[in-house]
């Protein structure tokens, strides 16, 4: 399909993303107010002006970044409305549905005030502001799931199925995992064709599943989770790891052996960290490395076929990374964290 118009707009939008030099300048700002002044000279100005009226400082920046991301995803969805490529963008926007549902479930579980939960929601998928507000009004997890079932939202099915197990164990990870299983199954079913763009999108989803499984395995080994409980938590559809390999990985039993095994896979970069950190293995360091790898792979889609919808997907990942980087800068400025530590947390694309 010829995406000439959309891709030209995306290229124009990509050219407005902040480059490494601009981000480095923001890192060097001494405090939040000078960061806001600098951000007002970027494409975030409009959102900042609006957000800072109601929320000062860090909260204003976070709100502006959130609104900017929502606006960007909506704008791109409108470009592709009614086109065949729209379903590929749905894969990306549905991530936010899963994110929103997980945030609401977590918030309801630990009884966080509604306003605080709302600040972390990104209404860019199936759920708009009004639907999310209705979900936020519910008193507990059960009522949230019941309301989803009343609306006949697809996400209700995996949640209803997992709810008895959650009720028995009280572990929220069971519900979150059910959502992940459902999301990735749906995402893969949307790209099961033979075209180059579907193959490329399938590959990136497969990579993401592999990386989530590696992260889960690292955490399971740390927490000494029972093998039988652990296996159903791992996701199917990975690019490299099928169910048989996942069982083998589970039997490795330790993070060190897992990282060693990765030497034979495209994820061998994990062992570089092991040698540089000299056995002081931190799961958060691995998680950061895995996230960085996924972002780099996904943003590479932007530089592929200029007429393919993969350009749009690559851009969406680049935009998401930029928003995350700005969030890190704002939060670290607020917490007086050094520029060096800040840079270590960021991902440049």
């Amino acid at each position: 399909m010829d995406n000439g118009y959309v891709n030209a707009r995306i290229k124009g939008m990509y050219s407005r993303l902040l480059d490494k030099k601009a981000l480095s300048n923001l890192i060097l700002k001494p405090d939040i107010s000078s960061l806001i002044t600098a951000l007002e000279e970027t494409p975030y100005r409009e959102d900042l002006e609006r957000a800072l009226v109601g929320k000062p400082g860090l909260y204003g920046i976070e709100e502006a970044l959130r609104q900017n991301l929502i606006r960007t995803i909506k704008k791109i969805s409108e470009f592709l409305q009614g086109e065949k490529s729209e379903r590929y963008i749905l894969i990306f926007s549905s991530r936010w549905d899963v994110h929103n549902l997980k945030t609401i479930l977590r918030g309801k579980r630990i009884k966080v005030p509604t306003m605080q939960i709302r600040e972390n929601l990104v209404p860019s998928g199936e759920f708009d502001e009004s639907l999310l507000s209705e979900l936020l009004k519910q008193s507990d997890i059960k009522s949230v799931i019941d309301l989803l079932a009343t609306w006949e939202v697809a996400y209700a099915t995996p949640l209803i199925q997992a709810f008895p197990e959650y009720n028995a164990h009280g572990d929220l990870f069971i519900l979150e995992n059910a959502l992940d299983h459902y999301y990735y199954e749906q995402a893969l079913s949307l790209v099961n064709g033979k075209s180059t763009e579907e193959r490329k999108i399938r590959e990136i989803i497969g990579t993401e599943i592999d990386l989530i499984n590696i992260k889960s395995l690292l955490m399971m080994f740390r927490d000494h989770v029972d093998l039988q409980d652990a296996e159903p938590m791992l996701l199917d559809g990975g690019k490299i790891f099928d169910r048989k390999i996942l069982r083998l990985l589970l039997e490795l039993g330790s993070a060190e052996s897992l990282v060693e095994y990765m030497d034979e896979t495209p994820y061998r970069f994990l062992s570089d960290l092991r040698t540089t950190e000299e056995d002081t293995l931190k799961i958060s360091a691995y998680q950061h490395l895995l996230d960085e790898y996924l972002i780099r792979q996904a943003v590479r889609l932007y530089r592929g076929d200029p007429f393919s919808v993969t350009v749009v997907i690559g851009y969406l990942w680049a935009k998401y990374t930029e928003v995350m980087n700005l969030r890190i800068i704002a939060r670290c400025k607020n917490a007086l964290i050094s520029p060096e530590d800040m840079e270590a947390e960021m991902v440049y694309v």
Partner: protein
């Protein structure tokens, strides 16, 4: 004396160029509209790029004219 082959040949030469120009301009036009929407300052460049495929139809016209003139 010439038969029907000459005008048909000239027509094919012209129509070929015209169709090719149409296809090229539609693609450049769509991408150009997108580029101007995001970066209005690129408008001048887009107009030049939009005009470039015109050379194809001009070439087709010249070939058609040559066929008619030279064969006669």
């Amino acid at each position: 004396m010439t038969g029907w082959e000459v005008p048909i040949g000239a027509a094919i030469a012209f129509v070929g160029g015209a169709i090719a120009t149409g296809i090229a301009q539609s693609k450049i036009g769509a991408a150009g509209a997108g580029a101007v929407a995001e970066r209005p300052e690129s408008g001048g460049t887009i107009i030049i790029l939009e005009a470039l495929p015109e050379t194809l139809v001009i070439l087709g016209f010249v070939v058609a004219a040559m066929i008619i003139i030279m064969v006669e």
